[in-house]
Symmetry: C2
Subunit: 334 residues, 2 copies
């Protein structure tokens, strides 16, 4: 094969087949994918969660991951947020003619490893190659399905006054890393993306706790935007305590240099867990026992004070309204 | 909203939500999509077919359809080729900053209509907006799931010597239309894409015939490439009769002007049906009773003469080997 991606590789003909067998099946192969039918044959039964995401992150390689691992984690997490065990994902590549094959191989390899860690199989795929300039390097779509084990499934409209709001760890890491890498900034301390598959931890929470109202990952738009969506859907008020928000000092520092608010920065390995106050201790114990939740803590609670609003209590006792992100802070963050 | 797509519309914040509620939910909405959770909750049972495709066709509007209707038809057809009833699809847009909102609306509207005609619901979605130049106008991924009703499911490795090879209609229409439109050619006679959802017809075939070995849509790479894939997977020889191939005179004419071979041109509303000789009459009757199969006919048969090969018998009695497409005839055909 050439050392760069050629248009021929997306033809559907012999060159496509070589790319599929030599690269994709090598890293992603399994009994179902290897059959190379137009569709995969799966066995699913009962309540199924299904979610799709296209990944357009720039740069495609960044500290803590690359577009391939991110594409697996993102969809696995979205499925798991429904209280589901992610089972299978599909994977569709759009490649720019001329993309170095080495880069593509690193990305595909990372997808294979991420899928293995998450315990999902990649069951069907698609590859398009477009002429130089029609896409920036590589975009990846992943779509996942999983078995819902929570009954009822956690949902953005299920938060209730009195619920506690927990976060699984520090916020802003992914967003600041992407921006820093893109702009070639060299932060004093190391910052890296938190991109990770959260499904194993989420399944434990759903299985071991009697009740979980909302699970949601604060990706694009960050914690503030995600909480606004939830308060609107559930018609409750979220009262956050600023001092309780876990933010790495290096992320705080990077944000103040760049004029960014970590509350609006994307996360790719964190989740919000909203549940009745009485289960907080048990939930934090489960979360903190997992490396991906070791910094988990309570950051606020839901009330009926100002339905649809997110209010931040500052260290001096003042209150600040956190609006939903209005415009675009950072395009191509995921 | 602006008359052009802005970066803000992909932020995950308030502007994204306006685009989703004013445009996407307006044309694609249903109970599940309207909940706007990270994933959809579906009920599936037993054997499930799942398929993904990204659509990068250029131009995005063409006689017979646009990228939106094509994206629905393509995935619905891939699911249906497994002998399955397509149920749900996801839909992920990658939009270029500056895309006219009128164009996006036409595309989304066409998707809604195509989904309704095919009887599938769009259950989950994703929208990314990338800066001008990072993608050419709009790319769409669709991923579909459906209930497999055929047992065993038709498969590319299930053709047997003695099987008849049927095609549901004329070949080359889509490929020639796209190329003609892209190059601004004005053919004497009207040629248009055959893009269509084939699932209703396919379900009838699977339900009414005792045995169907292979169902496959000859998209990228055309009829010749698809038959090569099947002969290799099934280890059989395909003997085609050139005179029996249904090709519109205007497609034949356009191809000879442009130096293209219709056997290698993409189709988006046709399928190959490979089954035991004894069911040919019944199969053709079913196919011809549907407008999408009115030109259905037998074009050849499978033998054990040259396993893995596709042989074309010419009108003068000669034989020509039809290879798989080697390079790329037409990038961005779907």
């Amino acid at each position: 094969m050439s050392d760069k991606v050629l248009l021929d590789y997306g033809s559907g003909g012999r060159a496509s087949q070589r790319l599929i067998s030599d690269l994709f099946l090598n890293y992603l192969g399994n009994d179902e994918l290897n059959r190379l039918n137009d569709a995969a044959e799966l066995t699913m039964s009962g309540r199924v969660a299904m979610s799709t995401d296209s990944f357009v992150v720039d740069p495609i390689f960044f500290p803590g991951g690359n577009i391939g691992s991110l594409a697996v984690h993102g969809t696995v997490n979205d499925v798991a947020m429904m209280g589901a065990i992610p089972r299978h994902i599909t994977c569709a590549y759009i490649l720019e003619e001329g993309l170095p094959m080495d880069d593509l191989e690193k990305i595909v390899k990372a997808m294979g490893q991420a899928a293995e860690n998450a315990g999902v199989t990649i069951v069907s795929g698609d590859t398009k190659v477009v002429p130089k300039g029609a896409v920036d390097k590589i975009f990846i779509n992943t779509t996942g399905v999983g078995d819902i084990i929570a009954d009822p499934a956690p949902s953005g409209d299920a938060a209730r006054p009195g619920d506690a709001v927990l976060i699984s760890g520090t916020i802003g890491d992914h967003g600041l890393t992407i921006l820093g890498t893109r702009e070639g900034l060299d932060f004093e301390a190391k910052v890296e993306s938190d991109s990770a598959a959260l499904n194993h931890l989420l399944v434990r929470l759903v299985q071991e706790l009697p009740e979980v109202h909302v699970l949601r990952d604060p990706t694009r738009g960050g914690l503030a935007t995600t909480l606004n969506e939830i308060t609107v859907s559930s018609n409750v008020c979220c009262e956050l305590v600023e001092n309780s928000l876990p933010i790495r000092p290096e992320v705080k520092g990077g944000c103040s240099i760049l004029g960014l608010d970590p509350l609006y920065l994307a996360n790719e390995g964190k989740f919000l867990c909203i549940l009745p106050e009485e289960y907080v201790e048990q939930a934090l114990e489960i979360m903190q026992s997992d490396p991906l939740g070791k910094n988990a803590c309570q950051i606020g609670r839901m009330t009926d004070a100002n339905p649809g609003k997110v209010v931040l209590e500052t260290p001096l006792g003042g209150k600040r309204l956190l609006n939903m992100l209005e415009g675009e802070q950072l395009p191509r963050i995921c």
